[in-house]
Symmetry: C2
Subunit: 451 residues, 2 copies
Amino acid sequence: MQFELTSAILESLSDAIKQKNVPYLKEQLHELYAPDIASIINQVTIDEAAYLYELLDDEIAPDVLLELDEETRENLLATFSTKEIAEQLDNMDSDDAADVIAELPEEIQDEVLSHIEDIDQASDIAELINYEEGTAGSLMAKELVSVYAFETVTQCIEEIRKQTDNVETMYAVYVVDNNERLIGMLSLKKLIISHPLARVEEIYEPDIQFVKTNTTSEEVAEFMQKYDLVVLPVVDQLGRLMGRITIDDVVDVIKETADENIQRMSGISDDVDTNDKLWVLSKARIPWLLVGMCGGIVGSRIIGTYEEQLKIHPEMAFFIPLIGAMGGNVGVQSSAIIVQGLANNTLLGDKIAPKLIKELGVGLINGLICAILIWAYAFVIEDWKLAATVSVALLTVILCASFLGTFVPLTMNKFKINPALATGPFVTTLNDIIGMTIYFITGRLLYTLFL
Amino acid sequence: MQFELTSAILESLSDAIKQKNVPYLKEQLHELYAPDIASIINQVTIDEAAYLYELLDDEIAPDVLLELDEETRENLLATFSTKEIAEQLDNMDSDDAADVIAELPEEIQDEVLSHIEDIDQASDIAELINYEEGTAGSLMAKELVSVYAFETVTQCIEEIRKQTDNVETMYAVYVVDNNERLIGMLSLKKLIISHPLARVEEIYEPDIQFVKTNTTSEEVAEFMQKYDLVVLPVVDQLGRLMGRITIDDVVDVIKETADENIQRMSGISDDVDTNDKLWVLSKARIPWLLVGMCGGIVGSRIIGTYEEQLKIHPEMAFFIPLIGAMGGNVGVQSSAIIVQGLANNTLLGDKIAPKLIKELGVGLINGLICAILIWAYAFVIEDWKLAATVSVALLTVILCASFLGTFVPLTMNKFKINPALATGPFVTTLNDIIGMTIYFITGRLLYTLFL
């Protein structure tokens, strides 16, 4: 059913390329869908990639190009002339073509555009690349079928026939007024079951959802997801129909947003992937490491004030990692739950206080379990004073971490900062500092009281 | 454009409910889409919820029911008779109806089924609830239009007209042979532009992608996402057409999988959300806390072996939190990148070695930056020996964490364990232990050599 790329397949293809065994390669490629061919081309050398790409049918080649990794596509297109690139773009949907052009070096973008034979396609692409990245305008495609309200079903079908070359997938026909403003839609099903002479205005659905060209991609994704939409029309400031966004593009946005959240939670500040260059990866990670370092230095100052006590009771140092780690773990658990609640819009104003109380309840239960266990351990292995210190500190730290893990992301969200940032190093660092303070204050108290 | 629920709206609705201001409420509700109404009902008391639900049009009520939180739906349905529940299910898509029935207490499921008026719908639901959760069978809906290859376009359209009440959204007509086995599809577009007397066998698309009823939901999601599909037919072991899965259901699976991964990375073991009960939340979190505790205990044993040295050099203890935290941060950063690469299938066999080397390169760059900074700090504030110990240990810990953060998730993936598990507490705990060991060995070495 689903194709799975193995090293064996890659090897046999590499061998076939070396032997220039064109019939074998063509046969192998012909059996595959575009994403599968792309997964192969991603894995081979650039020379092999260019060779394989040459062998593809004209019909599938642009789809394969779209499915490639950004890096591979860049390298592959660098081996093409501007005219060859233009030929590939001619057969793509306008939104995909605009994405590819936007990735090209700026100095050749105009040249590529000038080589595109279909003038409509060229002007569509030129329009699309002007929309800001991350907006509905940059997500939408120009390919759609629109009809006027006064037209008949037969005229609609004629219009669809005319545009059938351009519009590959179609779920609905949009209805516009004389000023090209979107006023509704007509499902293909409705079109099929209606009388040929019925007028669009009698059968169309006026209650239609749409977004504006400057709506953000995240809002579009949330919108389509919330209302279970497969296709969404895009209008300009005047309400004129400009394009349509399909769910497959939005699925990519959803995936990317989720990935980005995971990266923020892990303390990675830019959107990077494993294929990025070494220094890009380093740069994306160093900020939070420096924050962590500052936290560590503050921690060292706190412990430093208890230097004399440590000389007498060096065993106090034994449980420093435990206190730090547990504060971090609980904080991450709590904030992950809150960040998800925020991302999924299941948290609302007046439900925050109960969440906080519930979170503290969970902290109390788990904190008590952990505190009792560590008390028993330290009591047996060390002495009762250390046992008491560690268990009291652990419970307090877990409660603090539950509170901060809930409170920090909620506060960040209020100030429009991505709360996922809070879940990772920020809460961990804060908890480390607080944990050390509690631990040593408790320790000093108990040791001074009962010495 | 998009409805946003505020406390002000909730208050005004609550007031209107108290005053039984039905016209106002109906007018407010009528302006909203199902997910928006659901977001309101989720936030009000169960009595208010039942009151609002009663006011809804029959057309939108089942959609609202579907969009509710599981807990709210459960509470609301508990106020209904089995007959009333059956009425709601009658107007739902079969897959949604099956999901709702599966949530009901088992003893009333049969009763509800027996009250469903449409016999076809009842038998479809009865079939669907038997598929195992998490399979294509449990995701699919029975509503679809299928035609035989020998039929004409006109007959197809007749068939669509007949089934139009059941099938709300339709993107394609499926083509089956005389044994009901799926042999291809016919897009609505093709149907519209073809001659009315053309036979299906002349115009249908035989190259069709499908899944089996026992394919897992995750595979279905990956499949539809990879091949940009909006609808996917499902066949049984004999290749007979059993149902279809639409992209909106799969978008939910994608979201859920991403959420689950975030939870695993944060050390939460079951799939929980903020609405779950206190002890469920506690139980989901305690396992990794206990693992973290064991790590902390091991850490305490390691530091314990250096007790004598700590008496002489208590300043060694100052940087324990720093070493622990940095190892944790770097480990989480590295493993997050790898877990994402695995989830997105951008990592393949022979590309693992270069990734590991790259990861170590990033570790080296960031490790050196951090080590130099902490050396400078400790040199100024403390003394050169402690400065040397901390900076050497820090660099080593960061390199170790980079290696483990890459290696552990890759290994777990090889043994078919969800690598997201590795990213959270596991790598952090391991790094804590290794960090302490390195720190104290380095410290002892330097202090003994240069005392």
